[in-house]
């Protein structure tokens, strides 16, 4: 095959050279590396070596003629290289940017190696400053971006909303934190479209967005289970006397518009028992390696509403009479039903009672209202045969109690002692007014 040898870029960005002397003639056999021609550039006079071994088939340019880099200089007939291999050799010719040592007459080592532009080194030309500026480049219309502090951006990110969609009300249209909260509040997330009804679709599902209250419940429950070391103790107490008293006064209270159930008694008993067992009315302050004991008794009451669980708090239960407690419980039950509870009603609890007996169920493992130390679950009072002091089987009214505590603060023994105290009060309700 025939190799066309072009005048190579010998560095320093030379564009052209002048042929001084040909060392070879047409038809002459040359070795790779053998000098073909002497070329003078504006920097050096140098010999150009043959890249191949073969026979000179043609020479371009006569002595004294100027040639440009890239112009054909010679054609060399290479024997024994045909077809694909020849093509491969052809491809090996440098095409991209190449590094060439700068051949300085002296001191080349000091200057280093300067990369010389290959085909990839071409930059698009610029007209800046040359002529009258043409009409301004059309700027692409930027997507509207919010003005906001990094704090606000982080908040929006945490809440999963795009801050660029929020209208800012701050200085200069800045998106403030309140703007983000308001936006989140108002935003009605889109429901995923329901699957097109088809004959084969029988397993219907529905996505329902979490309400704020459900989100709060979920968060609080997880937090409690992740942090507190839950431990539960259960027991039953015979409350025939309590049942009798309640039935006796039910009508009386009813006349005054108050529905008397067992809860006021249980609250009162719980408060008195907490007074005697302060660990149950405490909170673990792990950060400072200490326990916080509370000497006031604000008891939260878990109330089941159609929107979800809420826990309004009755403050200073120990100081209230059963009558006052009955008033209070009726009041908060109504408020919870009507959705009138305020943040103030929910705050400040030191212990929680959850009463599911009116709905059903006897025993449960309640989840602590973290960071409180304990929660008391009240099941349904059922009549059961009990063995009395005289070993006689008699009907009894059994109240099931399920107690969960944070075992990190409260030991098992203390729970049992607390329950014993509570059961004493409930078994003999007169004691509730004796102390």
């Amino acid at each position: 095959m025939r190799h066309v040898f072009k005048f190579p870029d010998i560095g320093e960005g030379l564009e052209e050279g002048t042929i001084v002397e040909w060392y070879v003639k047409k038809g002459q056999q040359v070795e790779s590396g053998q000098s073909l021609v002497q070329v003078e550039t504006d920097k050096v006079t140098t010999d150009i070596p043959s890249p191949k071994t073969g026979t000179i088939a043609a020479l371009y340019g006569s002595e004294g003629e100027t040639i440009n880099v890239g112009d054909p200089l010679a054609e060399i007939e290479i024997e024994g290289v045909e077809g694909e291999e020849a093509v491969k050799e052809e491809e090996q010719q440098p095409a991209g940017p190449s590094e060439e040592s700068v051949e300085e007459e002296e001191g080349a080592g000091v200057v280093g190696t300067i990369e010389v532009a290959g085909e990839g080194g071409y930059l698009p030309s610029s007209q800046e400053g040359v002529e009258q500026p043409e009409e301004a480049e059309k700027e692409e219309k930027p997507k509207k971006k919010a003005i906001a502090t990094p704090v606000a951006r982080a908040l929006a990110k945490d809440l999963g909303v795009d801050i660029n969609n929020i209208k800012g009300t701050g200085p200069g249209g800045r998106v403030m934190k309140d703007d983000i909260y308001n936006y989140v509040e108002q935003k009605k997330p889109e429901r995923p479209s329901e699957p097109a009804p088809g004959k084969e679709v029988e397993e219907t599902v529905e996505y329902e967005d979490l309400t704020q209250i459900r989100k709060t419940i979920a968060k609080n429950m997880s937090r409690s289970k992740q942090n507190a070391a839950h431990m539960s103790v259960m027991d039953e107490v015979e409350v025939s006397e309590l049942v009798r008293i309640r039935n006796k006064y039910k009508e009386k209270y009813k006349d005054q518009g108050i529905r008397l159930n067992y809860l006021p008694f249980i609250l009162k008993a719980t408060a008195l028992a907490l007074k005697k067992h302060r660990q149950l009315n405490s909170e673990l302050d792990l950060d400072n390696d200490r326990i916080l004991y509370r000497y006031y008794y604000n008891i939260g009451i878990a109330v089941d509403t159609d929107k979800g669980l809420v826990v309004p708090v009755i403050k200073h239960v120990d100081r209230l009479s059963v009558y006052e407690l009955a008033q209070k419980t009726s009041e908060i039950a109504r408020k919870a039903r009507d959705g009138e509870l305020t943040m103030e009603d929910m705050k400040g609890g030191t212990f929680t009672v959850t009463s599911y007996g009116s709905i059903g169920g006897q025993f449960a493992v309640p989840v602590i209202n973290y960071p409180q130390a304990g929660i008391l679950g009240i099941g349904r009072i059922v009549k059961k045969p009990v063995v009395n002091e005289n070993d006689e089987v008699v009907p009894g009214h059994m109240l099931p109690l399920s107690m969960s505590v944070d075992h990190r603060i409260v030991d098992g023994g203390e729970v049992s002692r607390f329950l014993n105290t509570l059961m004493e009060y409930l078994g003999d309700p007169v004691t509730l007014i004796m102390e």
């Binding site: 320093e12 200057v111 300067i114 080194g121 071409y122 930059l123 007209q127 800046e128 930027p142 906001a148």
Partner: protein, 325 residues
């Protein structure tokens, strides 16, 4: 129009100015007979004579000092520091006289002169040939500092520098002296000092760089484009006075900034660019401004210099991180 390398464009600008203004003088070490070690001033002595283009003694303090006197006397010296690493004997002259002549003389005199110097690594030279010390000059009140990245800008900026009433440090990224070519107008034209060039519009992140790092950054941007990231590329061109407006506007648009410099990190130009984002575009930031830089070390010897200069891959990594922040 002619195809020019950076070297040729600078030579062309000097040629135009020497031809047009007889007050222009060009001198430095090996600048005359040899045409400079990088051949930037080649042919000029021959054309304009030894009284206008000449070799100086090997003494940078003297080169800069005489230029101060010439400038005060009304000449227009365009002097060469053979390498930026050799400039320090002249540094006292630059900071004590060049930068403050106008102020000191209450405006009666100016040091209207240009100090050219090749800078930066990547040519396998010695370590004190390879540093990027533009921050030193940018920090001196009274000096303007420019760095071109294309032959067009090299010519336009040098003509602006020579015609500036105040001293200009004209730094030449020697790594791309001959590595890029461009069609450049043969006419006289200017590129305004203090004006950055938005090379490419984009929406996701603003990338600011200059000099030889333009090439590596453009390779990184090609990678970013494949990843679907839209980059707005700004060629700073002038280190001082900084084009705060162009940078701020771009960062306001994209919300993100990555700067790419070869210079050491601490107290370097990248920090100043981050400061602009902070001061002018704080309320628009989507991610912390990021700087890709060299290291706080002496520039390595030839075997190690590829570890020092930010690579396209490293630049792309930081662009991606900033966009995904």
């Amino acid at each position: 129009m002619s195809v020019m390398t950076l070297v040729k464009a600078i030579n062309n600008a000097l040629d135009i100015e020497l031809n047009e203004n007889e007050k222009v003088v060009v001198y430095g070490e090996d600048v005359g007979y040899e045409g400079g070690v990088f051949r930037v001033t080649q042919g000029l002595q021959e054309k304009y004579g030894k009284h206008r283009v000449f070799d100086s003694p090997l003494a940078e303090s003297g080169i800069v000092g005489t230029a101060v006197g010439m400038a005060v006397a009304g000449l227009k010296p365009v002097i060469e520091m053979q390498f930026s690493g050799f400039a320090y004997p002249g540094f006292n002259q630059m900071i004590s006289h060049v930068s403050r002549m106008r102020n000191r003389s209450r405006g009666k005199y100016t040091s209207s002169l240009v100090i050219r110097m090749p800078y930066g690594g990547g040519i396998k030279a010695l370590e004190h040939h390879s540093e990027s010390m533009e921050a030193l000059y940018g920090h001196i009140p009274g000096l303007k500092v420019v760095i071109p990245s294309t032959p067009h800008d090299a010519k336009g900026l040098l003509i602006s520098a020579i015609e500036s009433e105040d001293p200009v440090i004209y730094m030449e990224p020697k790594r791309i002296y001959r590595a890029v070519k461009q069609e450049v107008s043969d006419e006289k034209f200017k590129v305004k000092i203090g004006s950055a060039n938005v090379v490419q519009q984009g929406t996701d992140v603003t990338v600011v760089t200059y000099g030889a790092m333009m090439r590596d950054t453009q390779k990184a941007i090609a990678l970013a484009k494949k990843a679907g990231i839209s980059v707005e590329l700004i060629d700073l061109r002038t280190i001082y006075p900084l084009d705060r407006q162009t940078i701020a506007n771009s960062v306001k648009k994209t919300g993100r900034l990555v700067s790419v410099t070869e210079a050491p990190k601490t107290f370097g130009p990248g920090g100043e660019l981050m400061a602009i984002a902070n001061e002018e575009a704080f309320l628009h930031l989507e991610a912390p401004p990021k700087r890709v830089t060299g290291f706080d070390t002496i520039f390595p010897l030839p075997q190690g210099e590829h570890h020092y200069i930010p690579t396209p891959e490293k630049i792309y990594y930081e662009i991606e991180k900033t966009v995904k922040f």
